[in-house]
Symmetry: C2
């Protein structure tokens, strides 16, 4: 089972690593990081590069495609959108975290689907014919979309459970000791202090489309 | 404020990225990934490389040092242990996630300290004069140690709160939408099914020391 995790300029690191650290523990998984060009790809902090082992042309029929989001998603990258359409034609699961769902949407893959995204980007999903939900992980057919950044861990475990069963997913959860204890209860806009939420909402998310 | 995140052969990716995605949002933070040699460093799945921007000699006085763990921690790497002792002499915070605390211990930095680590590695901490706790995040003076893998997110947010205040930490939590909803409740050995726990305990963690 091949799992392809897409990297592109200004992706968000944790969006990619949450699914990676969970899905790569699937039995028989061969995980590959893929980008337009093989080699280092810089994240949206312009600080950290992850290395894509393969270029898009080298990964044509992954079983699972994972698309991380970005703080500045570029929905006009035709090479990426063409690749997403091509690999989605034969994928078993097409997956996104955070604003990665906007990329799936821009590729035309979420029409008539329910989908999740970063809470600040929910308003953009209907442009692509998708129904925005405030849920953390959404399964709609073979499309699995997650909310912002850290939701990729919950998504990864849920998908491991669907594919390999509950016991395997529980073993992965225990291996990564995922027994979360956030020191604050501010992880969603209905829980965070109103002024913190308002600060983010003033500027929104810069979506290039 | 310089934050140095150590990479070394066979580190665990999420151990490094949890603290990275939270601490790099500190006001005025300059985050740098550092390793024995600058360049790509392969993780413990032998799948993903993160790029170290600097070698150890180029990062001598970071304010915060972050040490990720590994599924196969090598506690005999003298170059890494020497560097840890050197930077700890002037750091404001010395931080580890998962079995990263065994590296801090092997460097002689946890003597008489309370510390956390991956649940499978707790038995190793007393060898270094440290008191093992089953807690998720432990502050003892300037030493902050986290439990396994995913605990680095909770640790990062807690440390952001100590340094920059609750409101800033809450904003970071909201930015990464950290409102965890694990699909199972198996993230610690007292919650996971007994046979899953026993399976891990049979083999333990291969610690090279």
């Amino acid at each position: 089972m091949q799992i392809a995790i897409l990297l592109y300029d200004e992706f968000t690191a944790l969006d990619a690593i949450g699914p990676y650290q969970t899905l790569s523990a699937l039995p028989g998984a061969e995980t590959v990081f893929v980008a337009e060009q093989a080699g280092p790809v810089l994240d949206d902090n312009r600080v950290l590069s992850l290395v894509a082992a393969k270029c898009l042309d080298e990964v044509r029929r992954p079983d699972i495609v994972v698309v991380p989001g970005s703080g500045h998603p570029n929905l006009r990258n035709q090479a990426v959108l063409d690749w997403l359409r091509a690999v989605d034609a034969t994928s078993t699961w097409t997956v996104s975290v955070c604003t990665g769902s906007l990329l799936l949407g821009a590729a035309g893959l979420l029409e008539g689907r329910r989908a999740a995204t970063h809470w600040l980007a929910l308003e953009h999903l209907p442009r692509f014919g998708a129904e925005a939900t405030g849920e953390r992980v959404v399964f709609d057919g073979k499309y699995v979309t997650g909310a912002g950044v850290s939701a990729g861990i919950d998504l990864g475990l849920a998908l491991v459970g669907r594919i390999a069963g509950d016991a395997h997913a529980q073993a992965v959860q225990l291996m990564i000791e995922y027994d979360p204890r956030p020191p604050y209860d501010a992880g969603s806009p209905d829980k965070a202090p109103a002024d913190v939420v308002a600060g983010f909402r003033r500027n929104g998310l810069p979506v290039d489309a």
